[in-house]
Amino acid sequence: MKRYLPIALFVFLMGNFAIAQKVVFEEYDLDNGLHVILHQDNGAPVVTTAVMYHVGSKDENPEKTGFAHFFEHLLFEGTKNIKRGEWDQIVSSNGGSGNANTFLDRTYYYETFPSNSLEVGLWLESERLMHPIIGQVGVDTQKEVVQEERRLRVDNSPYGAFFEVLLKNLYTKHPYRWGVIGSLDHLASATLDDFKEFNKTFYVPNNAVLVVAGDFETEKTKKMISDYFGPIPKGAEIQRNEVKEEPITNTIMDTYHDPNIQIPAILLAYRTPGQAERDAYVINMISTYLSDGESSKLYKKLVDEKKIALQIFSVPIDAEDYSSYVVGGLPVGENSIQDIKDEIDAEILKIQTDLISEKDYQKLQNKFENNFVNANSSIAGIANSLAENYMLRDNTNLINTEIDIYRSITREEIREVAKKYLKVNQRVELEYLPEQKDAN
């Protein structure tokens, strides 16, 4: 089984859009600090067990990057009671499926089962937290796998390095400045003790949220949770340093040469507020307005009408401390990246100067609502949203109320937020180019 980092931007677009429905849930803490969220829905005999740990690449030692993602692999290697290689087999012989992913702020593990295997799911996740095997064999195996993953997703992948390059430019002090996969050198030189230390620090119940969503009996489930997770000892409190970045005041220019591409790309990246802040939601709306779908402004103008761009995109990358908003495109034929940049700037200037039309505003609202509703149509999706809203937005109930935020955003606000954050002098301009050929 392969485990993917959510590097593909569109994947976490979905994750951000929690929805506003009648999702009934209940939450409480165990003595050891494990936060528990239960969402009961007996509509289908499906149950998801998921644990989100508040550890991502930003929690790494700058000299030892890549640990958070490495753990996402390592913690499938087995536990005191689950032999190496048995994890996936246990999941599939119970008719289930599962996976894990890592990002800047958190690591997430989950399984979905027919509901009569709920206890198996709780057992698996409690084993992972209680006593994973962190041994040389597993570490060596996963080092190989992670190297392969980096080659596949970054080094050999067309446009695969852009997120890393942008982060490096957008952040100078904040630990967002290195990417999620981190440094292969750091991983290669890391010792078993380094990994054990990381586990001891971050993989503790007081740094995790357990979500059980779907078809179950509440009292019985609470008892099982207490039985499986209760005996896990509480860890030391985690010290987190708040790192503040100075505002960007002069455009940061950079170029990057990617050997895997032929068509250059222009990427304009802005540092925007953390995902819990209202302005981050406004940025999401602007992004959709600009580039979501064939009738969006940039697509219609640059790809459809003027045929300047082969592809156009704009992606808000949400994170806890700061978000990043990226707009860009690939030129077609003789057109240059400057042409694309000019057109994007013209369109952003329009948002900063004029109100978007009533009709576009309504269409935007319709799109958002539709996306929300469908994004959380599965039990697994709801579990993810609950965990993320609790852990990164500090408000589990956003799953029901987030849509109200979007509904309350006005056309005037869209204009103001565009003015405030999307300034030319506050951004990174990355020319992402094909590797140059030698003269001969």
Binding site: Q21, L30, G43, V46, D227, I263, G333, K363, V373, S377
Partner: protein, 690 residues
């Protein structure tokens, strides 16, 4: 606007003691969960439309699905009319033009699709009334126009044409025709001829006959109120005129009298499509329905199943081998076990598939196989329940398939209760090795000899021959004697002679060619330049944009596809070098090692088949000496892919004969290139190869 009530219970319970549990082993699974399937509310319109409403307020969305449960329709000499009708539906209505219809659906964030036997739509609940209205209007008042009809007909004809040499398409068509008979709705063949028999009036007739409410069910699921649905559906669907579809008889499918191979010769095939099939009578309401599903899963239901393990993992014959069993209340259906296999192992694959069917029929499956099949089946079944469409389908199945009300509620328990004995009985009842039809579609000249020797259960399996349209035909004859003393050199020399002669060809320093092909209404441009100094450039453009380009200059070169550039590997350079000679035949002559493989028909002409390398074969016309075709075998995702190039319409340019029409076929796709211009010793410069 609705108000959402939110419960957030912050529990104050604190658990202080933990029960002792045994964590050293996997917890026992609980009893199979009961399926909490909602019972739909129902009503019926006077015109016969039956409506089911499943209220589910969890998400503010609605899905609607109109199903017309007609018996299968025999289209006869107008086969294709159903497809055409479907593609003309959902494009607005008599009162809403197509563009306005699309725009409104987009604005609402909704989706609507309509076919000749039903319709479906989804949207936010607040737009439900309008979307239902749009769906009803477009379904009941379609605006069939000649313009759209012509466009769609062209599209279908292009599709048929592009499948002419597609081995999979031919195989599927013949398998179905042989299983059901060409006079059965599931076996009849849609061809260029039958599509051309269809007129706009036929489409209107088909729509009038079959888009009727007699067997129609409308299922509405989601955030709706029953009363409101009843009111809206009554309003929008009452105008639907009451009618019953015409009924007709068709032949009943039967099994072969004895197990036999039915061979279809497709000369361009590099893989054989093997399907072992027989007819089953299985209905969902049958007692042993689940037994049949489970035995099929163990035999060929996925990567854990026997066919896959044997043919792929153990033998490496194929990328995958599977089987399928189907239930249908109207007609007996086909069971099939199938694989796409390499030519050389075609006969062995037939034997392995038959053996596996034989084994599962004669021996009980293992406990582990049954347990895993049940777990996987139960898991998939349960996961699917999350999807509202699944729930809609279940409610509909109970109604249309005449199932007990608790059919799905007890589904998991019944799966759990299936025994090894049940499974074996189902195999014996539904799989046949004594009356099986083994349909093999492949390259006769390479596979027939061994196929003729296939023995199964100590009996020789006879081979019968069919053409690409499933009609009986003669055994193909590949033994055309080569003329005495003919060698590869003779053939190559003749070719060189007829296109202009050695001196003339050697005088060619460079040449440039520009050709065009049509692809889905777009123009594809092919530009190719070659020189005698290992320089080669080929650029394929769509609407003026380069899609794929290969450049070679001496020992270095690169390839660009859809914006990504990649340097050529030494092997690729070597390969292009072979091609990049202006006239590769001049090299073939000096390299030697080329053999004449025989005489084969190419487009109605006889041709000498020359094997140039393991992967390259070229055909030269026996009569004229001209090159007619070449095939190259390439690897794509671990699978061999044949790339075929046919040459026609030779014309003279600067004293040399060049083909002005080239047909390139890769997999199911085929391009007809018309040459626009050829220049010899002009129009090429060094900068073309940078």
């Amino acid at each position: 606007m609705k108000k959402y009530i939110v419960f957030t219970l912050l529990s104050l319970f604190v658990f202080v003691s933990h029960a002792q549990i045994d964590r050293t082993k996997q917890p026992e699974r609980g009893p199979a969960p009961e399926i909490n399937l909602q019972e739909p509310a129902r009503f019926e319109l006077l015109n016969g439309l039956k409506v089911m409403v499943v209220e589910n307020h969890k998400l503010p969305r609605v899905r609607m699905q109109l199903t017309i449960d007609n018996p299968p329709i025999l289209q006869g000499n107008k086969a294709g009319v159903a497809d055409l009708t479907s593609s003309l539906l959902g494009k607005g209505s008599k009162s809403i033009p197509k563009d306005d219809f699309y725009e409104e659906v987009d604005f609402l964030g909704a989706s609507i699709s309509i076919g000749d036997q039903g319709a479906s739509a989804s949207c936010l609940s607040k737009y439900f009334p309008r979307v239902l209205e749009l769906m009803a209007d477009a379904s009941l008042n379609p605006n069939f126009t000649q313009e759209e009809f012509d466009k769609e007909k062209d599209r279908i004809l292009t599709g048929i044409k592009s499948e002419e040499k597609d081995v999979s398409a031919i195989a599927t068509r013949v398998q179905l025709a042989l299983a059901y008979g060409k006079g059965h709705p599931y076996g009849e063949i849609t061809s260029e001829e039958t599509v051309n028999n269809v007129s706009l009036a036929d489409v209107e007739q088909h729509y009038r006959n079959y888009f009727v409410p007699a067997n129609a069910y409308l299922v509405i699921i989601g955030d709706v109120e029953f009363d409101n649905v009843q009111e809206l559906v009554t309003q929008f669907f009452t105008p639907w005129t009451k009618a019953v579809p015409p009924s007709f008889n068709y032949s009943k499918p039967t099994d072969a009298q004895y197990t036999q191979i039915n061979f279809v010769d497709v000369s361009n095939a590099v893989q054989s499509e093997v399907a072992v099939q027989n007819i089953t009578e299985l209905k969902m309401k049958d007692e042993d329905y689940l037994d049949a599903l489970l035995v099929n899963r163990i035999l060929g239901g996925g990567s854990q199943a026997r066919l896959y393990k044997n043919l792929r993992e153990d033998k490496g014959y194929t990328y995958g081998s599977y089987s399928g069993i189907r239930a249908n209340k109207y007609s007996p259906m086909r069971f099939n076990a199938y694989a796409q296999v390499r030519n050389a192992v075609t006969d062995s694959s037939v034997v392995q598939i038959l053996d596996e069917i034989n084994r599962i029929t004669n021996e009980p499956v293992t406990d582990e196989e049954l347990t895993n099949a049940k777990a996987k089946y139960a898991g998939n079944f349960v996961m699917a329940l999350e999807n509202p469409e699944t729930i809609a389908n279940y409610a509909l199945n109970i109604e249309t398939e005449d199932l007990p009300k608790d059919f799905y509620k007890t589904y998991l328990e019944r799966i759990e209760a299936v025994t090894k004995d049940d499974v074996q009985k189902a195999a014996q009842k539904y799989f046949s090795t004594t009356n099986a039809r083994v349909v093999v579609t492949g390259k006769g000249s390479e596979v027939l000899e061994n196929l003729g020797k296939v023995n199964f259960n100590d009996k020789k399996v006879p081979v019968l021959y069919y053409n690409k349209y499933a009609s009986k035909t003669e055994e193909p004859n590949y033994d055309v004697a080569l003329p005495e003393g003919l060698t590869a050199a003779t053939v190559l020399e003749k070719y060189i002679e007829v296109i202009g002669g050695k001196t003339k060809l050697e005088g060619v320093e460079s040449y440039a060619m520009l050709a065009e092909a049509e692809m889905q209404g777009m123009t594809l441009e092919l530009e190719m330049k070659k020189t005698a100094k290992d320089q080669f450039m080929q650029d394929i453009k769509v609407m003026g944009n380069s899609m794929q380009k290969q450049v070679l200059d001496g020992d270095k070169g690169y390839m660009m596809a859809q914006g990504q550039r990649k340097d050529l590997s030494p092997e690729e350079i070597e390969k292009i070098k072979e091609e990049s000679a202006a006239f590769p035949e001049l090299n073939y002559l000096s390299v030697g090692n080329i053999t004449v493989e025989g005489i084969e028909p190419v487009g109605g002409k006889k041709a000498y088949k020359l094997k140039i390398t393991e992967k390259k074969t070229v055909f030269y016309d026996v009569e004229t000496g001209l090159k007619l075709k070449e095939t190259n075998i390439e690897e794509a995702q671990g699978q061999p892919m044949t790339n075929t190039l046919e040459y026609e319409d030779y014309r003279e340019v600067s004293g040399i004969m060049f083909p002005f029409k080239m047909v390139q076929t890769v997999g199911p796709q085929s391009f007809d290139f018309q040459v626009k211009e050829i220049k010899v010793n002009e129009g090429v410069s060094a900068s073309d190869f940078e």
